[in-house]
Structure formats: C-alpha cells, structure tokens
Symmetry: C2
C-alpha cells in the first residue's frame, strides 16, 4: 500500500557538491552515520541527503552520480536549497520513518523551474521500504519535457523502477512534440532494453493519474528476483538501470534542459495551466494521503507546505 | 511487421441486422462462402462483413454479438452504410488479401459521429493474418470517450487484443474527466482480470502515437499459447476476452454514447481540433503505409479516400 501511495514521492537533489565530498561519497568505504535527531544546518541536511544512507550500494552510487551530473551541468542556473533544515531532513516520532528532501530552484534567467530530490526510509511491518528519487521541472520559457527517476525498494529482491521524461503537452494533439522528444530520440529503445531482462516486468501504477502523466516511452517496471537473490537485483541495477538512467539524463540535459525552444504567449498560458494542475495532483497523490500516515500530521503539514510553495511558485 | 503497421486498422460495423440473419450467423453451423469477386450490392457487402469468415469461432461470435448490441441499441440514431460496394469489400489482385469495411454515420440529432467495423485477412509468408475490429466515434456534442476493440491474430496461438474507451481530452489537464470515465467506472479491474491469465502479457504498440491515444485503463495484451494449443487461445477468448469486451461495450453505451454531457462552445472547438488531429494521425498510421502494400495503390487510394471523407466529415 505504501509503495502505491508513496509511488511518485518527490525526488532528491542538492546544492553544491565540493569535490572532496563527491569523492568521499563515491568511495564504497564511505561511512554512513544515521543520526535520529533533526539536523540543524543546511550543510548537514545536504550531506545527509547525499548519503542515501538506506539505499543499496548500486542505487546509492547511481543516485549520487545523477545528482552530481545535474549539478555539474546546471549549477550556474540553480540557487542553493533554501528549505528549512527540518524540511530538508525529518522523521516521525518513533524514528522508524525518516526522509530527506532537497529542492534547488532555477534562477530567473534559467529554463529550470526547480530540481527536487528525496529519499524516504520506513520500517513497515512488511519490512523496510526505501524510496529514492530525483525530478527536474522546467518552467514555461520552454515546453520541453521534465525529468523523473524513482526507485522504490520494498525488499532486497523487489524493486520498482520508474524513469521518464514526462511530457508537458497533450501528445495526441501535438504529434510534432511526440516526434521531437520521443520518436527521434529513440527513447523507446531503452524501455525495450529493460524489457528483455527476464526478471523485469511492466509495472502499472495503481494510480491512473500517474499512468496518464508519463510519456509513451516511460520505463515503469518491477524487478523481482528469487528470494535470497538480492545480489542479482543489485547486478540488474548496475548493468541495466544505471546505464539507462544515465543515458536518459544526458538526453534530457542536452535536448530539454539546455535546448532553446520558442514558446508563444498562448502556449505559455497553456503550459502554466497544465503544469499547475499536474503539480497539484502530484502533491495530492504522492504526499497528502501518505505523509500524515508516515510522519504524523504536524511534520506532514510542514513539509507539504514547503513543497507546495515551490510547486506553485508562491 | 504487418501486425504493427495494420495494428489499428479501422474496425467493423454494419447496418440493419434482420433477425433471421442474426440467428443464422449466431449458429455455429452457418456456412461461409468466400467469393473472390468484388461484391455488387450493399446487402451482399454487409452480409460478407457480418460473416467474419476468417476469424476463429469465438472471435466471430464475439464480434457478431458486439455489432448486434451496438446496432440494437443505437439503430434509430444511425444511417445505413453508404460506402460504395467496392469499398465495403475489396481485395488485392492476387486475391490473397481481402477486407470488408462498414461505416454507419450518426444522424444529425445523435451524439454518434460514426461507427466503423472491418475485417482484414491476408495470406503472408509467415501465415495468415486476421484483424477484426469495431470502433465508435462520438461527435463534439459530447466529450465522452470513444469505443475501440481490435483483435489481431497472426497465428492460431498468437493474438493481440486491444480494448479501450479512448479519451477525447487531455487527462493530465482534466482529472475530473479521468475520474468520471475511468476511475468511478472501475475500468482498470477488467485490465487486471486479463493480466492474471498466465498466457497474457502486456502489449506495447511499436507506434508511440497509439500508446498516447489510449486511456490509462486500456487493455493492450498479447495472448500467446504453446505451439499446437490453439484450443487454449479459443478458451481464453471465450472465458475472458468475450465477457470483458461485452462489459466494456455496455459501459460505453450507458455512460458515453447514451449519457448527456454539457459541452461549452470553447470545449467544442477543442474537441473538434483534437478529434481531427487524432483521426488524421490514425489514417496515416493505420492505413496510409500498409494499405498500398497489402491491396495495391489503386484499391488503397479508393478505400482511404472514402474513410477520409467520413473521418473529416466532408
């Protein structure tokens, strides 16, 4: 249930990554300390986020590389994360649910609206649930697609993997947009590549809105290995999930985030409307129902309030 | 290849079904005669269509029942098929590709734009390909979804089954529409039912536009049984495909075709635009590339010309 509800929980990103920190985090010997106390400073919260302390080694490495790539490429266009420290890291009263959230807004001159990263760790009666994600939202100076990756691990042998460039226009009404971003980029070849792995099955989100919001080339799969075969899950992440995610991020950076698109005034109004409905709906689906249950009403209200500010630009 | 190209080939429907004809066609002992000559009269062409002469017994029975249900329910709103006889039935020069097409337009007072039925039979080097389909398009007096069923059988043990109420609005921008037609109708339960059959796998159309045009609850599956197990394919059609298709048609008739919806003028213009792009794209994908190859340029031009008239209302 939590996997479904949390399914599209907002994703994780960060501010400036000093090279030494990068190297330290890249090393498999990095020591991870999990403090149960609220973090007091931005730097500490940011470090906590970048540790992905509960993710498996290959997911941690992948997420760290993705965050680094985005930050290296877009750094000059992004403000540092200004969320309050108790929104950058929070937990429930029992300490069995913890989460880290980083949001960096784009500067006025940028086509980036904001980049959002998160991880969530919950000890559920069924076992540990770990969600790591990264998403990037563009503003209405461009109509290019957004970026989204989410990994939902409900056991060492069960992983849901979502990777997409969610479209910002109605593809039925705009076949040229479909051609530009999805056909000519051959995005479906990546989905097909994953599909060939025997342990990989298509995943249908129980939330219909999520199925509508993704592109026709979205990778939405469930990776299930035999009981005790967590090494095989990790191997699939390293051999397939990791390279495909990196390829897609490159495509997004080159052809969406950093490519000029002319947007007419009427189109701008349309994009703003569609983005706005999409974001409100995303908050409702991802957070409004699951966060109070996971973190208590007070924490949920605080965190959702901050996310809503970013989503609605207020 | 042909399965892909023909994938959404327009579907089959008919005019008035006299009761005696219905009974004759429902009987499993009905004798099917396949004349290779062009049919000369509307009645003859209509009879030919209703025979579904190349479909397997359970598909023939299902298609006949669906056509009958639609006609019984909507008959007073539909004109008879006025396609020229050589468009209602046509074949290629060698006689190894044959097709039957029936289109009935809705009367001015109706919300039905037109209902289109077809079957196609081709002898390919890889074996016989049989496509049977039925689709129903509403006009802009309502924004309710259309109806579509398509069965593509490329061998006795391999069947692609597509069943959907394709939306006529952008579901990301209109969550209420999603709720009305897809969530509250619990359409996804039918997809889930099919998904549980061991021989059933999700089917991803190679044409991205088709993936965009269907709803989030669309049934798009491939049914593959073991070599020589054509009886199992037929059993799956009888036990799952048949009842699910009939349930969905009932939902479409009750909640889309026969339900009043208020559509404002601006919405009407939007629907007309979206329907128009969708239909042009459908002709391009389904017919423009495959029909000349299957039936020769002359036949293809004649048939596509007539279909285009209906699709564009000219």
């Amino acid at each position: 249930m939590a996997v479904n509800v949390c399914h599209f929980l907002p994703s994780q990103l960060s501010s400036f990554i000093p090279t030494c920190r990068l190297l330290a985090l890249k090393s498999s010997k990095v020591r991870i300390t999990c403090s149960a106390k609220p973090l007091s400073s931005h730097m500490e919260a940011r470090g906590k986020f970048l540790e992905f302390p509960h993710a498996s080694a290959p997911i941690r490495a992948l997420m760290f590389d993705l965050v680094s790539t985005v930050e290296n490429r877009l750094d000059s266009q992004l403000s540092p994360c200004t969320l309050p420290p108790d929104v950058q890291y929070f937990e429930n009263q029992n300490g069995n649910a913890q989460a880290s959230l980083q949001i960096r807004s784009g500067l006025n001159s940028s086509s980036i609206d904001f980049i959002l990263g998160s991880w969530i760790h919950c000890e559920l009666p069924t076992g540990a649930l770990n969600i790591t994600s990264l998403s990037a939202y563009l503003n209405s100076s461009t109509d290019a697609p957004n970026f989204l990756i989410e990994l939902i691990q409900s056991s060492p042998t069960s992983l849901i993997f979502i990777l997409d460039l969610p479209p910002r226009k109605d593809l039925v009404l705009d076949p040229d947009y479909l051609h530009t971003f999805y056909e000519s980029t051959k995005l479906d070849t990546y989905r097909q590549m994953l599909e060939k792995v025997p342990e990989v099955r298509p995943y249908f989100s129980p939330t219909l809105y999520i199925r509508c919001a993704v592109s026709p080339t979205a990778i939405m799969v469930r990776i299930e290995t035999e009981s005790g075969e967590s090494a095989r899950t990790e191997e699939i992440v390293r051999s397939y999930v990791d390279p495909v995610a990196k390829e897609l991020l490159e495509i997004w950076l080159n052809q969406c985030a950093c490519a000029e698109r002319e947007v007419e005034e009427t189109d701008k109004a349309y994009l703003e409307k569609r983005d706005s409905v999409n974001r409100s709906k995303t908050i409702e689906i991802d957070l409004a129902s699951s966060f109070p249950r996971l973190f208590g009403q007070e924490v949920a209200d605080r965190v959702i309030g901050e996310i809503r500010k970013v989503y609605t630009g207020t």
